[in-house]
Subunit: 380 residues, 2 copies
């Protein structure tokens, strides 16, 4: 129950162990098509360039930035956590100029402030923001930010690593031009793949580039020949065949449940966890209005040694929760309710184990009351 | 039996299906240390920066080039196949200047020619070459090329994607400064990881960089904090946990057999395949003096439609062999004898199936004689 990887089901693990086909095998290519179609449904998009990058989420991020940002391009980067700052780094590595919109960690970006920065930087070509900030658990208003970017003739790059599959992600409706995610969060697949999707407008900007992309491995004009090769795929790199079996199975599982049901389940489990932890007197970092259900940043009570609590959870309860990142280190725990991890038993385990750990750390809690509060939500 | 992925054993597949631990879990970190130690033994090196890049071989290549090549650096690139040309592309993407040493495809690089180019380009900082060219099956004299590069105060970058585990790869003895490989060739792991190793001299060049590496995901100064973090690893990206289980198991299997025995097995199986195919009148592209045992480029007999032969092998015999790449397309088949694929049954299957396919394509063969020739080698 950390910030990902989430629990991986036996079905996905079993899929990982299927015999390895060649990356150009016709049967494998048929599976690639199914993965692409599944990802389109998941991203709610018709974008023809929708596929999983053969590396973790950070490489999906880099795919979007290195392809879309050309030397000298100004990019507005909204930064309200670790991953917003990583976007800034990506802009710099791509040779672009990052103009930051700094937002207090744990808060959602203020659209009016972004507009002010856009007005002051009419040369800006791209607005980049994190939909679900994994370091804090804050959800951005993607629809509003995209509408604003379009008004200013900017493309948008959105980080959906933690949001995809846990809250609505509506790429076409919002008009997101480039989005990346990760396999190991709400999809409950093993880590190592990064689903991405790019709009036609994004592809037009890539086609119009005057300089080559600063990466051969992530250059979409080449990767496309493998993933989108019409009338015959051509070799670019050797795809991680077994990891893709796992992603395929995780998509099958997700659509068996239904995307809407999965999103509702995340919300339900989150509300139960909130009821339990709040009854123990714990506070959440993020305001209810923009709080992610799948990533719960819980404030460490004063006087409690957070690392020692996590060590006890892992040792005594086999339960992993995440530490705070950056300026949040020592101040919050990050409890994931992602994908297969977002289930009743985990809510109960987390409340029970955390109550036990806190009781051993001079923070007295009533575990029976906390479980009762959670069950009231779960059984409602 | 294509040019990789090779056959993946049930043990490696089983390892892929182990429950996913967190990428910062203490037990997982212990396994990471074992993977690093195993790779050091495999590369025959003491290099402290020896680890698997979280993406396929192409990303390992890019890791070496983007970190070592700085804007304006001249790099001598030896090109005798597809992967030499990819090195040139990598130099360009890194902002360097590639000076090519072109060698006929299927031939080993001529060290005297490389020396002439080095003499003509005293500003060169790096010599890059492919140890085992997967597109042709030619083996380079790595010891000689490295000695030459050192004489000219150049660092070396070596592609060992297909060589590692199949022929001797002696990083410290030869003095290779940066080497990358792939998990899916002679290690018989699933595709998706790229073991790399860098010398202290290489790390010094990286430390002295004046401009940031053009990739955040592959920036070794950051990746090191996760893979080599002394006194506590820090998060960089989410490692592909299950893929690393597979790599760990493939290393265990390799060292159970012994590296020397595995290399001898590749040679033995290769000689049996050669005996069988030559008795059928087939010719090998690469001269015996520099021919790789694990990658056999067999010349397509005149009048035979090579794609139709491969399709028959796949359909009737469930046997995949590789097509030619680039200018070799249509002219050669590439038959892999890599890792777990380098075994008696596969040599027999390949001879039998290829004889069947050729007989159906107006190229008459004596399968009994071919098998007898192979068995003479196998049973010697």
């Amino acid at each position: 129950m950390g910030p990902g990887p989430s629990d991986v089901s036996a079905r996905v693990l079993g899929a990982m162990a299927r015999p390895t086909l060649g990356h150009l095998d016709p049967d494998f290519q048929r599976m690639m098509e199914e993965v692409k179609e599944g990802l389109k449904d998941l991203f709610q998009t018709k974008n023809r360039l929708t596929f999983p990058v053969s590396a973790p989420g950070s490489a999906g991020m880099e795919t979007c930035f290195l392809n879309l940002v050309e030397e000298g391009d100004t990019v507005i980067v909204v930064r309200n956590g670790v991953f917003g700052d990583r976007m800034r780094e990506n802009v710099v590595r791509a040779g672009g100029i990052a103009v930051l919109v700094d937002v207090e960690w744990g808060k959602a970006p203020d659209v009016a402030v972004i507009e002010t920065v856009l007005n002051a930087n009419p040369e800006a070509k791209i607005v980049a923001f994190v939909h679900a900030e994994t370091s804090t658990g804050a959800l951005a208003d993607a629809a509003a930010i995209c509408a604003l970017a379009q008004k200013h003739n900017c493309l948008t790059i959105m980080d959906a690593v933690t949001s995809l599959g846990g809250v609505p992600v509506l790429i076409d409706e919002w008009g997101v031009d480039a989005v990346y995610s990760g396999s190991q969060k709400c999809l409950s697949c093993t880590p190592g793949l990064s689903p991405v999707s790019l709009s036609e407008k994004a592809l037009d900007k890539i086609k119009a580039r005057k300089t080559p992309v600063r990466s051969w491995f992530l250059d979409l004009s080449l990767v496309m020949n493998y993933w989108n090769g019409e009338g015959g795929r051509s070799y670019h790199h050797t795809a991680p065949v077994n990891a893709l079996y796992g992603l395929h199975e995780s998509l099958v599982i997700l659509f068996e449940e239904g995307l809407g049901s999965a999103i509702a389940r995340h919300k339900h489990m989150h509300e139960a966890l909130v009821a339990g932890l709040e009854s123990m007197g714990l506070k959440f970092l993020v305001d209810k209005s923009c709080r992610l259900p799948q990533l719960n940043a819980v404030v460490v009570p004063e006087g409690v040694d957070e690392a020692s609590v996590r060590a006890h959870l892992l040792k005594a309860h086999s339960l992993e929760i995440g530490a705070g990142l950056g300026p949040m280190a020592g101040n919050v725990w990050r409890i994931g309710l992602m994908g297969a991890s977002a289930r009743r038993e985990n809510v109960e385990l987390c409340i029970t184990a955390l109550a036990d750990a806190l009781n051993r750390h001079q923070y007295k809690t009533d575990v029976t009351g906390a479980l009762k509060a959670a069950h009231q939500v779960l059984d409602a």
